[in-house]
Amino acid sequence: MMLTRESLLNWAMIAALLVVPLAAWSLDEPFIITLATKAAILALAGVGLNIALGLGGLISLGHAAFFGIGGYAMGILAAHAQNYEPLFEWPFLFEGSNQMPLIWLVAVVFSALAALVIGALSLRTSGVYFIMITLAFGQMLYYFAISWSAYGGEDGLSIWVRNEFPGLNTLDPIQFFAIAYVILCLALVFAARLARSPFGLALAAARQNEDRVQAVGLTPFVLRLTAFVISGAITGLAGALFADLNRFVSPTMLSWHTSGEIMIFVILGGVGRLYGPVAGAALYILLEHLLGGISDYWQIFLGVLLLLIVLFARGGLIGALAGREKAHG
């Protein structure tokens, strides 16, 4: 593999995301570990969105739906487990679960199903309709969660103890960070392989020239729907982790501001760049932490920065540091 400036930068970033919390661990600074964990989880959500947005060219403004479904998968399973209330009794008795692997599985399956339904309806349209419809479906789930009083309604659901992972103590910040970091790395490897696979190439081709893709006998709708489902599933997994980080899930995770923020991670880093969400999420957490300390109104600065990046520096952070993107197929 040729080491370009971008791949060097990628290695540096992923290493920094590991070194910073390790250093914080040795200095006994659990808050910094938590910030790094948050960055890793949000980056994972961005990696998910980037498969639809960067690779497939699908501007989804409704990814909070999948993030929130992942969050509620964790909240509902864990709430039943902690209260010993059966979630269902047929076909077998199931009292929820506090095991992360099962929670992740449920989060992935349900967000993939939601992405299948939302994608199948939304992908009938394109362009600006697609943006608005994904936004509207996300908002639909948001209002549904608010009115669903069985699981906390507007107040959300709190979990007293973080869920368990076999062989690890998830209450220890550095061990929970390790879980999030490993999943992020696996997702990055998966996304990289996906982009180079025949499917990924066909998807990128459908973004660039729909007619030609059709002419060689592929169906853009199926390619896009598959990408949308994969994308939603990864974002859903991130949602389950995020809820576990906070031990709390609320309709806010489903709100369209969350969709916008996930998109901001992708854009701050650079659209279509594999490691863009990592750079973007890390920068976002850093800004939130630094500017948030200066002013309660730090989102004004975030807005101005985002505006400047969109208007004048379209490659995002990676674009600014690593130069123009190489032509990709």
Partner: protein
């Protein structure tokens, strides 16, 4: 359940529909003429409401407050267009979404910084408060009736503006062929600013009118913005007629669903679970309506090609 209650709810649906139309008209005009998706339209609604609340606080006059909402939102819209939006016309939708999302952050936090987080209140003036008797023995709040009438008047005015005036001809020509109208000597960038400010003024007026019923607070524009998106997706993006039809459909569905679904569920469920199931389904009803319409007509009721 009596027919008076039904009629009252139909009027409430009409009132919500008229407010949504004021929002949706600007959005759909801006998309139709400039091809721009503007998420910050809800911020202009908020600007109108805050301007009205501030002016009503200083002068005590509701009429001045409404004029202030129009002027402030139009000015904010024109400024927004001149500084940011006009750089986005040639960009793709992703850039437009992001830049206008950034504008929301700036406007919302800026307003919070200026006015604080606590809601402001805008009172209905005494000459518009209280109920009025309508034929059929219905008692209906005069203020809500006024909103319906203002909405109808503006809808009529907008149709006349677009169908009968020189500016309307230019707007329609701009939708059809941007290069040609520029070649014919129309100052296209001035036209764009004008259309944007017009849409902004309507949004600001809607904000002020609704602000007197609800409270005036940061973020008030966003739920309305998303409803307005649903409206123009249903109606067909770029079509004023579609915006009106969509607004009425969404206003009615939302209002009537919220009132009657729980009652409908109570027929075959116990009251408590009927109330919660009905409320849950009612909150999703307009999105289900949108999905159903898109299944039949992917580009909306009055949409051409997207």
């Amino acid at each position: 359940m009596t027919y008076i209650l039904v009629l009252e709810q139909i009027l409430n649906g009409l009132q919500l529909g008229m407010m949504l139309f004021l929002m949706a008209a600007g959005l759909t005009l801006v998309f139709g003429v400039m091809g721009l998706i503007n998420l910050a339209h809800g911020s202009l609604y908020m600007v109108g409401a805050f301007a009205a609340a501030a002016v009503a606080g200083w002068t005590g006059s509701f009429l001045l407050a409404l004029i202030a909402s129009l002027a402030a939102a139009a000015a904010a819209g024109a400024l927004m267009e001149l500084v940011v939006i006009r750089r986005l016309y040639r960009r793709d939708h992703l850039d437009q979404v992001l830049a206008t999302f950034a504008l929301i952050l700036i406007f919302s936090e800026g307003t919070r910084w200026l006015f604080g987080s606590f809601p402001l209140f805008l009172d209905v003036p005494s000459y518009l408060s209280g109920p009025v008797s309508l034929p059929g023995g219905i008692q209906y709040p005069l203020y809500r009736l006024t909103i319906i009438l203002i909405g109808l008047a503006i809808a009529a005015g907008l149709f006349l503006l677009i169908a009968r005036t020189r500016i309307g001809i230019q707007i329609r020509a701009g939708e059809a062929d941007r290069e040609m109208i520029a070649a014919l000597g129309v100052d296209i960038s001035k036209l764009y600013t004008l259309v944007f400010a017009l849409g902004a003024a309507l949004a600001g007026l809607a904000g002020a009118l609704v602000g007197a019923i609800q409270s005036v607070q940061v973020g008030m524009g966003e739920p309305v913005l998303i409803l307005a998106f649903v409206v123009i997706v249903i109606g067909g993006i770029g079509s004023i007629k579609g915006a009106l039809a969509g607004a009425l459909l969404v206003g009615m569905t939302d209002t009537l669903g919220g009132v009657f679904l729980p009652q409908l569920f109570a027929v075959f469920m116990d009251p408590a679970s009927a109330a919660s199931a009905g409320a849950s389904l009612a909150s999703m009803l307009i999105y289900i309506l949108m999905a159903a319409i898109l299944l039949v007509r992917p580009s909306g009721l009055y949409g051409g090609s997207a």
